[in-house]
């Protein structure tokens, strides 16, 4: 049985109560909106990229504890990193959010323990997969970031 404590880890509640990197960035920072029509969660993401590095990131918007803490945790994890590292973190996180049913088998875990360690605080969101309807909440910020990088690239 999925337990509430798997979902609402203390780190998550902390980032929900005190979100990091909240706010806006002026141009030339790139602005991207993310929206989850099912629950109405909204995110506005500002990304400042220079020389292949995500110099700064800020977020506004509203939503549930999972979507808000996930965007806060994300911002802390990717800020200042090279775009390659950012893209890898996005990929690792999205693998973490793959529902257990889709995992090929026990010995081929979607996310290795090594990767989990690499995720650091982000690993607190691992419990979300036990609540499949909430996965969209957790990935909203990440999809928005991926979209922002694509737009900056283009």
């Amino acid at each position: 049985m999925a337990n509430l404590d798997d979902l609402y880890r203390e780190i998550i509640l902390d980032h929900y109560r005190s979100p990091r990197n909240r706010g806006e960035l002026a141009p030339p920072a790139h602005r991207t909106e993310g929206f989850n029509p099912l629950c109405g969660d909204e995110i506005v993401l500002y990304a400042l990229v220079e020389n292949g590095v995500l110099l700064d990131i800020k977020l506004t918007g509203h939503g549930c504890s999972i979507s808000q803490s996930s965007s806060s945790l994300m911002s802390a994890a990717v800020k200042g990193k090279s775009l390659d590292d950012v893209r890898e973190t996005i990929a690792t996180f999205k693998a973490l959010m793959t529902t257990p049913e889709h995992t090929p088998g026990d010995d081929e875990q979607a996310v290795s323990d090594a990767n989990l360690r690499r995720l650091g605080e982000l690993a607190a969101l691992a419990g979300v997969v036990k609540f499949p309807v909430r996965i969209k909440c957790a990935t909203l910020a990440w999809n928005t970031l991926a979209q922002a990088l694509d737009e900056i690239d283009a």
Binding site: L4, C39, R134
Partner: protein
């Protein structure tokens, strides 16, 4: 005489579910009601003994299926006290289709540029989007009656908004606020201005007595699944002379009088609006739901849910030190058993998630009423809503779980 809700409970198999180790506390009847055994059994009986396509059959089961389907139409007309009887009852797939039928058949025929459809800020999207679509195709204006800070429509604001209005289309009971609108007064006002009036009965028909002769409205839409009936069946009611003047909506079998390679002539009566094989088994289930509700008595259902609501509002107001706000009229105002909650510091999604751990079913979200949400500066609420099988002990568990949610996010 009031019914015993414990007996109703015994008729609803789903209430035996255990969720996360606790007996289910179902507080989402506003979204869809639970299904009593007699309703399920009526559909089983239909499939096991009487199923056949309706109309045009000659053999016995086809006649039985037709009698069941048309019998449901008659039962619906009786339940609503429809002035023109069963020829006024059109079966659709849900309340939403009923509104689309109204907009595309009546609206597209009788409305055009300069004409206004007056809805309210508290409408469900089912009574908003079809009018926006009609605006696109036929240039009508869609005007919104504002909702007051008391969560009610102000009749004087309706009066002053009536210029150019050809149709007033409002909900009889808000699915978010619980507000009960003064349908008869609105009907009189609309008619005094030469307008017609459509009522969204999705919530009201399930929880209050509906008497179409008393209400004096022109159109009504609602769904079976919110009133102990099955999914897949809606009702559109209109005065017979209006139905007669309306062109068909969907085209196909059953709604025609004649078809050649040159064109078609539509059927008369409600069949004109029922293209294709209708929801026959669902009509059988719906008739059983109406019988069940008649057995309880709609006045008793309303009184029972009223008592539950008064009790819940009182306890919500005293338990949480102002941290749980009810988005809707307070006690003392006539209202339905829909209670939208705004919990300080806890997103409705999280409220519902924590409540689920206690087996409590409430719905978070905008409840398909985004303009209303915006009006009150909210993205969502967590909504609890009662049905005939609800008990004060459901409210006990709700409060227990809410207390946990509030503490957890404190």
């Amino acid at each position: 005489m009031r019914f015993d809700p414990k007996l109703v409970r015994g008729d609803v198999p789903l209430l035996n579910r255990v969720i996360n180790g606790r007996p289910i506390t179902y507080l989402d009847s506003g979204a869809s009601s639970l299904t009593p055994r007699p309703v399920i059994e009526a559909m089983d009986r239909y499939y096991q003994h009487h199923h056949a396509n309706v109309h045009r059959g000659v053999y016995q089961t086809a006649n039985e299926a037709t009698a069941i389907y048309e019998g449901a139409r008659e039962a619906t007309a009786r339940f609503l006290n429809a002035p023109g009887g069963s020829p006024e009852i059109v079966f659709t797939k849900n309340a939403t289709e009923s509104f689309n039928l109204l907009a595309r058949s009546w609206g597209a025929t009788f409305l055009g540029p300069g004409d206004v459809v007056l809805v309210s800020e508290m409408e469900h999207h089912a009574n908003i989007v079809p009018w926006f679509q009609l605006r696109e195709t036929h240039g009508v204006e869609v005007r919104f009656i504002p909702v007051g800070d008391d969560f009610r429509l102000d009749l004087s604001r309706v009066e002053e908004a009536m210029a150019g209005v050809k149709l007033v289309s409002v909900t009889a009971m808000s699915n978010v606020l619980g507000t009960i609108n003064p349908v008869r007064a609105l009907a009189d006002l609309a008619h005094a201005h030469g307008a017609l009036i459509a009522i969204d009965g999705a919530q009201s028909v399930a929880h209050l007595r509906t008497d179409l002769v008393d209400l004096d409205v022109d159109f009504l839409a609602f769904s079976a699944h919110k009133m102990l009936g099955p999914t897949g069946l809606g009702v559109f009611w209109a005065r017979e002379e209006l139905l007669r003047a309306m062109p068909p909506f969907l085209g196909g079998g059953g709604m025609i009088k004649d078809v050649s390679t040159d064109g078609f002539t539509p059927a008369t009566g409600p069949s004109k609006f029922e293209a294709g094989t209708p929801p026959i088994a669902q009509a059988a289930g719906f008739a059983a739901a109406l019988r069940y509700l008649d057995g309880l008595g709609m006045d008793n259902v309303a009184a029972h849910e009223h008592d539950l609501t008064v009790d819940a509002l009182t306890r919500l107001a005293t338990t949480f030190d102002g941290r749980v706000r009810v988005i809707g009229p307070d006690n003392g105002v006539e209202r339905g058993g829909v209670i939208s909650l705004d919990v300080e510091g806890v997103h409705p999604h999280d409220v519902a998630q924590v409540l689920d751990q206690f087996g409590v079913c409430v719905r978070p979200g905008h409840h398909c009423a985004k303009p209303l949400m915006k009006r009150f500066g909210l993205a969502a609420t967590a909504r609890a809503s009662f049905g005939p099988y609800s008990l004060t002990s459901d409210t006990d568990v709700l409060l227990e779980a809410l207390t946990h949610a509030v503490e957890m996010f404190a």
